[in-house]
């Protein structure tokens, strides 16, 4: 693996919350230019890992490098290179979509005229032009994810981190998100997104990292990780789900019992 250029690399990343170890020594590797999926069951530590990698949460231990730069050492360089769409999608609710984008651009020191031009383009491609002057608080989930992605893309980052970008998004919006992201990676930029929808990861990603209980249990090109099976089967095998069982207790469930 020495020959691939890494967009993201963590070593022994570690985070505890009280007694509970949320992330216990994660070595995440994402090659440059890849469309990478970070998959894992709920509570596997995906969000915690992404928060630490994007500098929103201070790790208890370990190193994080993006483009070869230590995240917690040179924040100016890192923060201009990454775009983030965190979990939960708390945006500035009382700004309109357009205002949110221009706020973001100005905060990053992009000239106002340039911000307006980019914002207009992003709003158009995200199909948000009509809703651009509505307050974000009145947006639907799909619209929020789209405006969040637009805000994350505004400064043309080299690496994009998305936490559950497709959760609760309608198929039409999801399609828009996918198109934008594919165009973005085609130019050589890197996308890392977390998800637990295996079909989607299988369809989009060329690189997969599987997390379970705060650890990376498998990582590599999609074909290597799934090894001939569907990604879902490979995933269930990796996280160790028992087959069947527990059905006896539900004998009353279903139409036959009537």
């Amino acid at each position: 693996m020495a020959d691939i250029v890494e967009a993201v690399r963590t070593q022994g990343l570690f985070k505890r919350f009280g007694q509970q170890t949320a992330v216990g020594g994660v070595d995440l590797i994402v090659p440059q230019g890849s469309f990478a999926g970070l998959v894992g069951p709920n509570g596997a530590g995906k969000t915690t890992t992404l928060s630490m990698v994007t500098g929103l949460l201070r790790p208890d231990g370990g190193l994080i490098h993006i483009d070869g730069v230590d995240v917690w050492r040179d924040q100016v360089v890192i923060k201009s290179r990454i775009g983030v769409l965190p979990e939960g999608l708390r945006l500035f609710e009382r700004l309109s979509g357009r205002e949110l984008l221009s706020y973001n651009g100005q905060l990053r020191g992009i000239p106002r005229a340039e911000v307006e031009q980019r914002a207009e383009g992003l709003l158009k491609i995200m199909d948000l032009t009509e809703a651009a002057d509505k307050l974000v608080i009145d947006y639907s989930t799909g619209m929020r994810k789209k405006i969040g992605l637009a805000a994350a893309l505004l400064h043309n980052p080299k690496v994009l981190f998305l936490d559950e970008p497709f959760e609760g998004v309608d198929p039409v919006s999801a399609n828009t998100l996918v198109e934008v992201l594919q165009r973005y990676t085609a130019s050589g930029s890197t996308v890392i997104f977390s998800s637990h929808v295996m079909e989607l990861v299988e369809r989009l990603c060329d690189w997969v990292s599987v997390m379970n209980r705060g650890q990376i249990v498998a990582q590599g090109p999609l074909e290597t990780v799934r090894a001939g099976r569907s990604l879902n089967e490979a995933f269930l095998g990796l996280v160790g789900v028992r087959d069947g069982g527990g059905e006896e207790g539900l004998s009353w469930l279903g139409a036959t019992s009537r």
């Binding site: 040179d74 100016v76 973001n104 509505k134």
Partner: protein, 588 residues
């Protein structure tokens, strides 16, 4: 049902506020589903659903269903109270405190009511009438101020369960009287029987009267909550209500101000006047019935009973409607895409971005509006009381103090500058890479506050100076107030960084912080107040004591302190921002 679940889930994603509306829609859907199912309801698709009820129909798995009586709801309420206390020492302490306070209030109230027997009969009756009215008004208004404090109060949470509206109403009534304060109210009301009743008839009718009035309080309170729950589930409704909370709080100050104003010298005459107005209101009739104990009392109680029945009926109707209506307010209108004057003057960049955003938030976020209204209102009230205290010739302190108080209160609003941003603060955090960035952010916030506050304080100073008798006093007043504002912003920057806390999105009049952070919130605002007062003392004290020329130094002094505060706080914020982010992003 899977698709349904997805949609409920999706709506839940949009934010905490929307999960109730999702539940509401789900309720309508499930009612429709059940109509197509086993039994068809005659009134078709309403909230009334076929339920187990007393005629045990086959349930899900071919078992006999058990009747869902009020006791289920009472146990649910008790369990919610217990669950809310679990694992949090501060909440347990808070509950114990509430319990002790309620017992004290109930005991004291009971004996005070009972001691009305010692007063002349007509005075006792007047007091009874007024107090009963206060109870009813209190019960009507409290849910407006405290909505969101109690999980069982929102019927939409129960809308997916197969309950008839009647069952739901009885259950909600039962949960409403399960609580510390309802029981305390009942105990105090029972005290009125001891205080007012004449003869055995009075006691017997008194028990009925108290129970009816108590029921009236509960049912009215419920009707208000339910009728409003539709509005409260909409974003705009909540926005409006949040701001109106300020006016309720102000209205509570009104009697105090009027009494201070001394409109009437004789309290007994005042009491009698009030009571004669309230005599024929429902609580007035209840109080009179206890004291009368005769035929009139029976008639009055009959009227009261009818009223309870009517309001109860209205409540059930409102409940039925509330369960199947959804939030349509998200089809909101667009906002004007204006840049604002200040943004045009300021150089392009983060500073202008933060200032513009903060000014928009002061206007659009109800929490921002509440903060500003409250600061102005409290200043007005304090200025008014001050001027009442010192009648006759005005002094310079009287002209300067109101603007200074305003400066303190507005400065206090910035004691938790990142709190209103809450979880959206990540958006700034992923951009700021240096200490200087955080200092700029704080400077932007301060500039936004100053843009609104500086003219406002000048206006207050002019009004106060005019009232005190010399317009020239407005000059030291405004200068001192601006200086104090600067000090407040400086100390506020420090508390914002070192003692940040979450400002809940659902405002109510009783808490300003997310559960479990009350201590930090108290410490932060108290620290900002005391710290600010101490730092402001060198300029405020001489001016108030009659050395108005010192106010010339106030503005540079304020600027210096705010600059120093920003410097220390901004540098610390760069190191502490993950902690700040965690502290302001508590789920509320």
């Amino acid at each position: 049902m899977a698709g349904r679940d997805l949609e409920v889930n999706a709506a839940g994603q949009a934010g905490d506020e929307s999960d109730e509306s999702a539940a509401g829609r789900g309720g309508g859907m499930s009612a429709g589903l059940s109509d197509g199912g086993s039994t068809a309801e005659p009134d078709g698709g309403g909230a009334a659903r076929p339920a187990g009820g007393s005629t045990a129909e086959p349930g899900g798995g071919g078992i006999e269903t058990v009747r869902v009586g009020p006791s289920v709801f009472v146990r649910l309420k008790l369990r919610l109270i217990a669950g809310n206390l679990r694992g949090s020492t501060s909440r347990v302490l808070g509950f114990v405190f509430t319990l002790v306070a309620a017992i004290a209030v109930a005991t004291l109230g009971f004996f005070l009511m009972a001691s009305l027997r010692l007063a002349p009969e007509d005075v006792a009756l007047d007091v009874g009438i007024v107090l009963f009215t206060v109870f009813l008004v209190g019960w009507t208004l409290t849910p407006l101020l405290a909505f969101g404090l109690d999980d069982t109060l929102d019927p939409s949470r129960l809308s997916l369960f197969p309950l008839r509206t009647g069952q739901l109403a009885v259950g909600m009534f039962a949960t409403s009287i399960t609580g510390v304060w309802p029981i305390a109210t009942l105990i105090i009301m029972i005290g009125a029987i001891a205080g007012l009743a004449t003869g055995i008839g009075g006691v017997l009718l008194g028990v009925v009267a108290v129970l009816l009035l108590f029921a009236l309080c509960i049912v009215t309170s419920r009707l208000v909550t339910t009728a409003l729950s539709g509005i409260l589930r909409t974003r705009r409704g909540r926005d409006v209500l949040a701001v109106s909370v300020v006016f309720f709080v102000l209205a509570a100050q009104l009697p105090n101000l009027l009494l201070n104003g001394g409109t009437s010298g004789d309290p007994v005459a005042l009491l009698h006047g009030g009571a004669s107005v309230l005599r024929w209101t429902p609580p007035g009739m209840a109080a009179h019935a206890i004291a009368d104990g005769g035929v009139t009392a029976v008639v009055e109680l009959a009227v009261l009973a009818v009223l309870v029945a009517v309001i109860g009926r209205l409540w059930i109707m409102a409940l039925r409607r509330a369960l199947v209506s959804a939030d349509a307010s998200t089809e909101g209108a667009s906002v004007r895409n204006s840049k604002g004057l200040l943004a045009r003057v300021l150089p392009d960049g983060p500073l202008a971005a933060v200032v513009t955003k903060e000014l928009k938030y002061a206007r659009r976020d109800p929490r921002g509006r509440v903060g500003w209204f409250a600061a102005i209102a409290v200043t007005g009230v304090m200025a008014f009381s001050l001027s009442r205290d010192q009648t006759g010739t005005g002094s310079i302190a009287l002209a300067i103090a109101p603007a200074c108080i305003g400066g303190v209160l507005i400065g206090l609003q910035s004691a938790n500058a990142f709190g209103i941003d809450g979880r959206s603060l990540w958006m700034n955090s992923v951009v700021y890479g240096t200490e200087r960035d955080w200092r700029t952010d704080l400077a932007g916030r301060h500039l936004a506050v100053a843009t609104i506050a500086a003219p406002l304080l000048a206006l207050i100073a002019v009004v106060a100076a005019l009232l005190a008798g010399d317009l020239l006093w407005a000059v030291p007043g405004a200068l001192a107030a601006w200086g104090i504002l600067g000090v407040g912003l400086g100390t506020g920057a420090l508390t914002s960084v070192f003692l940040p806390y979450t400002v809940p999105e659902r405002l109510n009049a009783f808490t300003g912080a997310a559960p479990g952070q009350g201590g930090i919130a108290f410490l932060a605002s108290f620290g900002a107040l005391i710290g600010g007062a101490l730092v402001a003392l060198p300029i405020a004290l001489p001016v108030l004591l009659g050395l108005p020329w010192v106010s010339v130094l106030a503005v540079p002094y304020g600027l210096l302190i705010s600059w120093g505060g920003r410097r220390i706080a901004g540098n610390a914020a760069f190191r502490r921002y993950p902690q700040i982010l965690g502290a302001v992003a508590h789920s509320s």
